[in-house]
């Protein structure tokens, strides 16, 4: 029983981690007024680049770095078209997703030639003493990226609430025109928040391909990027909100695996729907209470 509970906890945390990382990036860009469905494509891109990087360099750490940097570059396409060309954010996001699926499938076939090579993934890092704790000890046997994600939560919360930078982001999202008048560069603020969210989505994708499994498969993100968007809405656009929301999703996904193993008689295809259904229920239940920034989705055209 204790073992079951322990493995359930571990799988919850591991499932929640990519949503948490991507969600923390979205705390910045969403608060700056960006609605980015291209997160799905960013994560897919990061998942491939992480694997390819790890395959080339033989080091998971370098793989992660390559994923972060290349996805950040990739996100510049989104930033350029939405900010500099005033293009519709949803449309550019959709294009990014199509583009990412084309690029990743093409590169995957070229780099790995249809094989699944052994790559080094994120190793688990045991924290002394804490790992010996009953039941929750397993939470201290996770990978570095996983700890990093959780440590980032208070950091992001602090930056958003207590620093000048965070207030600028909030101001730009709430009223770009007024922010511009008082000398905040709307363009620059939106640019760096998108790049940051691109970098973190890349890491989130890399965690899926190198932390949860040890390979890249086409379409492996299967909606986790969209779930990250749901997480930010559900979490009320704050870092700690994102933490709770991604843990709820983590529980949903861990539950799904657990039920599959348990042989409940429910077909696995139906169980696979569970996280998506949870997302639906969550989005319906929460939306009346939280509200995004006023300028969400609107391009800002300087006069």
């Amino acid at each position: 029983m204790i073992e079951t509970l322990s493995s359930f906890l571990s799988s919850t945390v591991r499932m929640a981690t990519p949503l948490l990382i991507a969600g923390l990036g979205l705390v910045f860009s969403a608060n700056a007024g960006i609605v980015n469905i291209g997160i799905e494509g960013f994560m897919l891109f990061g998942a491939l680049m992480g694997c390819a990087g790890s395959y080339w360099t033989g080091s998971a750490l370098f793989g992660a770095l390559i994923a972060i940097l290349s996805t950040m570059l990739f996100s510049a396409i989104f930033a350029y078209f939405t900010i500099n060309q005033y293009a519709d954010q949803t449309v550019v996001g959709a294009a990014i997703n199509i583009l990412a699926s084309g690029i990743t499938i093409t590169l995957n076939r070229l780099v790995f030639e249809g094989k699944v090579p052994a790559i080094s993934g994120f190793e688990s890092l045991h924290i002394p003493f804490l790992e010996k704790l009953p039941i929750i000890g397993i939470l201290f046997q996770q990978s570095l990226v996983c700890y990093l994600a959780f440590v980032l939560v208070p950091v992001v919360a602090y930056v958003m609430r207590k620093t000048h930078l965070g207030l600028q982001v909030l101001a730009v999202g709430e009223n770009p025109r007024a922010s511009d008048t008082v000398g905040i560069s709307v363009k620059w603020t939106r640019w760096w928040t998108i790049l940051l969210s691109g970098a973190l989505s890349g890491l989130a994708g890399a965690f899926m391909s190198m932390g949860q499994v040890r390979f890249f498969s086409e379409g492996m993100i299967s909606g986790k990027g969209y779930m990250a968007l749901a997480v930010i809405v559900l979490g009320g656009y704050t870092a700690f909100g994102v933490l709770w929301a991604s843990l709820i999703f983590g529980v949903g996904m861990a539950l799904q695996f657990r039920l599959q193993v348990l042989n409940t008689g429910i077909p696995y295809q139906i169980l696979t729907m569970l996280p998506y259904v949870i997302t639906l229920v969550a989005v319906c239940g929460v939306n009346s209470k939280t509200r995004g920034p006023a300028s969400s989705g609107e391009p800002y055209i300087k006069e």
């Binding site: 609605v35 294009a95 583009l99 077909p267 639906l280 989005v283």
Partner: protein, 358 residues
């Protein structure tokens, strides 16, 4: 008279300028990417074009591919005209196809024309009802359709996986892959051009395009939808029922996508296999954007996208470029169409002259 004609040509050229330049630019960039990856772009594009437009048979394939994506394009467009972003055509396609397969395999006493008609109607209704749910959730709970429509895509997909692995599985097949029973002969769309595989789904797509044009521009409902799409507040002040129109637009949108799934099923696939209809919905979004959510634009751009996907196989054969590279082309086309200011000649001139650019 002459002037009028010249004016028409001129306005057509202006309307066609951005799509054409965007497509050219996408081909150039995709060509550069192929070159970098070590392929011959010349061979690739030659294969792509000859495989899609090279002969009568290729044209048949191109139009067959264009049919479902014209329908999913209409699905995105009619919702968008009413201010709803429908990213759920993917799932609505499956909902329609699933309904079509039930009618097309279980009802065995109807003559062909009636059976086809009934299958299409049921597919429309199935897709439409599935499409209406996100609209209802938006009205009732304020849930963003950006997220809900996508979640419904996955739910439909896995439900179909469940159905073809059990309740509607073809147990007589020796295939290792789960698949539904095949459509009865009376529920298949007939071929309409000798020497090609072109099927009667083309008529369904044309009818849907005409219906789209009619309802949006020749009915009061369509007028109301367009007002809401342009400015929801103005619509409300004018006393238009936003909630009702939103549901109606998503109902029709889902119906269009459902028809798309049915046409692909009844004319090409003949049975549902895992993931066989993936991508039709998102291709439709691209087609609608490229066509500016207009009837003629959607017709033309669905043929373009049909050509891209029907030529992809020959491209891979002739040059080794993976078929998925076509997605890169599609993504680029959308980006350049939406970022068309890049190609604004007057703006370029101003920049070149060193003038202030807004």
């Amino acid at each position: 008279m002459e002037d009028n004609k010249a004016g028409k040509v001129r306005s057509f050229l202006i309307a066609a300028y951005y799509p054409i330049v965007s497509i050219l630019a996408s081909f150039v960039i995709a060509g550069i990417i192929m070159q970098v990856l070590g392929f011959s772009p010349y061979e690739a594009f030659k294969g792509l074009i000859s495989g899609s437009l090279g002969n009568k048979r290729a044209w048949g394939e191109t139009l067959n591919k264009a049919v479902p994506i014209a329908l999913t394009g209409l699905s995105y467009a009619i919702a968008k005209r009413c201010g709803v972003i429908n990213l759920g055509a993917e799932g609505q396609v499956y909902a329609g196809a699933l309904c079509a397969v039930l009618v097309g395999t279980e009802i065995d006493f109807l003559p062909a024309p009636l059976h086809i008609l009934l299958t299409l109607i049921v597919a429309f209704i199935g897709g439409a009802l599935y499409g209406a749910i996100p609209a209802i959730l938006k009205n009732r709970f304020g849930a963003s359709e950006l997220i809900t429509t996508i979640m419904f895509n996955y739910i439909a997909l896995y439900f179909v996986h469940f159905m073809i692995a059990g309740p509607i599985k073809d147990y007589s097949s020796t295939s290792n892959f789960a698949q539904s029973k095949a459509m009865l002969v009376t529920a298949r769309l007939p071929r309409i051009l000798p020497g090609t595989r072109l099927h009667a789904g083309l008529f369904v797509a044309v009818a849907a395009l005409l219906f789209f044009q009619f309802i949006l521009f020749h009915t009061t409902r369509g007028y109301e939808m367009r007002v809401i799409g342009l400015n929801q507040n103005a619509g409300e002040y004018a006393g238009i029922n936003v909630h009702k129109n939103r549901i109606l637009s998503m109902f029709i949108a889902g119906g269009f996508a459902g028809l798309g799934g049915a046409c692909e099923l009844m004319g090409v696939q003949l049975r549902i296999m895992e993931n066989a209809f993936n991508g039709l919905g998102f291709d439709g979004i691209a087609v609608a954007l490229l066509g500016g959510n207009t009837t003629g634009g959607i017709a033309a751009s669905s043929i373009l996208f049909g050509a891209l996907s029907s030529g992809a196989n020959k491209m891979q054969m002739k040059s080794g470029v993976p078929t998925a590279t076509v997605y890169i082309l599609q993504g680029l086309v959308i980006l350049f169409v939406i970022g068309k200011r890049l190609f604004d000649i007057r703006r370029m001139k101003r920049t070149a002259m060193g003038g202030a650019v807004k």
